[in-house]
């Protein structure tokens, strides 16, 4: 129970950082998305039956603090989690470099999926003009953050 409370604390801290402190000190495309790092972590290292729900929840949380489309990130994060949890058995998930690489790819995948969803279902014409230039810097920053936290283990994993 305490482990799950700790995880909730980590998630809330990540959200607050993304919403308040990071935008104040970092320019737009260079703000890391800490939640996607968590989703990748769940996908690679936590094959728990509730981890998919957690990934979806993280997406909803992201949507609550970002943009106006509730469910956009929730969908893309769930897709990423499903994909990674399916591949996790065939990958050497303890490798730190793999974690960093997957975070980079997941960021790119998530952005492209969001772009597709926005292009098909919303009237946000020209959103690609904001999204595409920011894509690689964002993915690189996320990969950098992932490299910093790649050695960290979540309390639930430690308990197991």
């Amino acid at each position: 129970m305490i482990a799950y409370l700790k995880i909730t604390g980590v998630v809330l801290a990540a959200c607050l950082l993304q919403m308040t402190l990071l935008p104040r000190y970092l320019l737009d495309p260079f703000q890391p998305n800490l939640l996607i790092v968590l989703v990748v972590y769940l996908g690679l290292k936590m094959p728990h039956r509730l981890a998919g729900v957690a990934a979806f929840g993280l997406g909803l949380l992201q949507d609550s603090f970002s943009g106006i489309y509730l469910g956009l990130h929730a969908f893309s994060y769930l897709c990423i989690y499903t994909l990674l949890s399916g591949l996790a058995d065939r990958l050497y998930t303890d490798n730190r470099a793999l974690f960093v690489l997957v975070v980079f790819l997941a960021t790119v995948f998530s952005a492209l999926l969001n772009l597709l969803m926005l292009a098909i279902f919303s009237v946000s014409k020209g959103v690609y003009a904001s999204l595409l230039p920011a894509l690689i810097p964002q993915a690189l920053v996320n990969a950098l953050v992932a490299s910093l936290f790649s050695g960290v283990r979540l309390p639930v994993e430690e308990a197991r």
């Binding site: 919403m19 737009d28 106006i68 009237v123 020209g126 003009a129």
Partner: protein, 274 residues
């Protein structure tokens, strides 16, 4: 006689010395302000010695007082550093208060200028992703906020409220791709729709080629749609392009408000969407 002298030799010698001393004193009374040769000689002889002694004494005194001072300097230094830090903090706080005062004054002037009831809000958060442009403000439905209410700052239009919670709300900025505001060019009255283009930019769309729009023109809200009151400054035209094909012009607009530095804004409460 000789025996007498020998006998009283001691007394006589004493008397002579006393007399000599007395005469020395008496003779120098007339010339008391000037040094006599003896005095001059003594002064000349003793001067180097007195000078050296004084110098040594002065140096020793200085060293001692410096040592004593040094003992106090460290403590004094710590106290001075503390007071410098305190004064710096006060200076920063004062500067911040001056800037906040100017900002709030501008907001108050705006509140007086806009003939619509308004509520002041402060920014407490920003969008957590790089490609959407929203802000979180510190008031919500419990303060009378509703989705769709226009948000303005001292310079002009900021955006409109979306996602209102009891104690906080989110503002969709006019630079977001999902934002669209009915607008008119102030000089030529050319109509169009200001849409967000991301990266702190907007574009004026649906303005036909025949309309007269020039770089530097001010774009204001047209009031059409009922969300934004008429006449609020939206931005300034920075680029006009009339292509060979198509019906509309390509017009880029720079927002009148510096979106990156927003801290306090006004929500116009009369304009509500049912």
């Amino acid at each position: 006689m000789r025996n007498l002298l020998i006998r009283y030799k001691r007394f006589l010698m004493t008397a002579v010395f006393l007399l000599a001393a007395f005469l020395t004193y008496a003779l120098n009374l007339r010339n008391k302000e000037n040094a006599n040769p003896l005095e001059r000689a003594m002064m000349t002889v003793t001067k180097p010695l007195a000078g050296s002694t004084a110098a040594v004494s002065g140096t020793a005194g200085d060293i001692w007082s410096n040592y004593i001072d040094l003992l106090e300097v460290r403590q004094e230094n710590i106290e001075l550093r503390k007071s410098v830090k305190l004064l710096n903090e006060r200076m920063v706080a004062n500067n911040e208060a001056i800037v906040a005062n100017a900002r709030l004054k501008a907001l108050l002037e705006l509140k007086g200028a806009v003939a619509i009831p308004s509520i002041a809000v402060s920014v407490i958060g920003e969008d957590s992703s790089a490609w959407f442009k929203t802000l979180v403000v510190d008031r919500g439905s419990s303060d009378g906020m509703l989705e769709g209410m226009p948000v303005v700052a001292a310079g002009g239009v900021v955006g409109r409220l979306v996602k209102v919670a009891p104690h906080s709300s989110r503002v969709l900025l006019l630079t977001d791709h999902a934002s669209a505001i009915a607008a008119v060019v102030q000089r030529s009255r050319a109509r169009g729709v200001v849409r967000g283009a991301g990266g702190g930019r907007c574009s004026l769309e649906f303005t036909v080629k025949d309309e007269d729009v020039k770089v530097g023109d001010t774009v204001i809200s047209s009031g059409i749609g009922g969300v934004f009151p008429k006449g609020l400054p939206i931005g300034e035209v920075t680029m006009v392009k009339k292509g060979e094909y198509g019906v509309f012009q390509t017009i880029e607009v720079r927002p009148a408000v510096n979106i990156g530095k927003l801290e306090e804004m006004l929500v116009l409460v009369r304009q509500s969407i049912e």
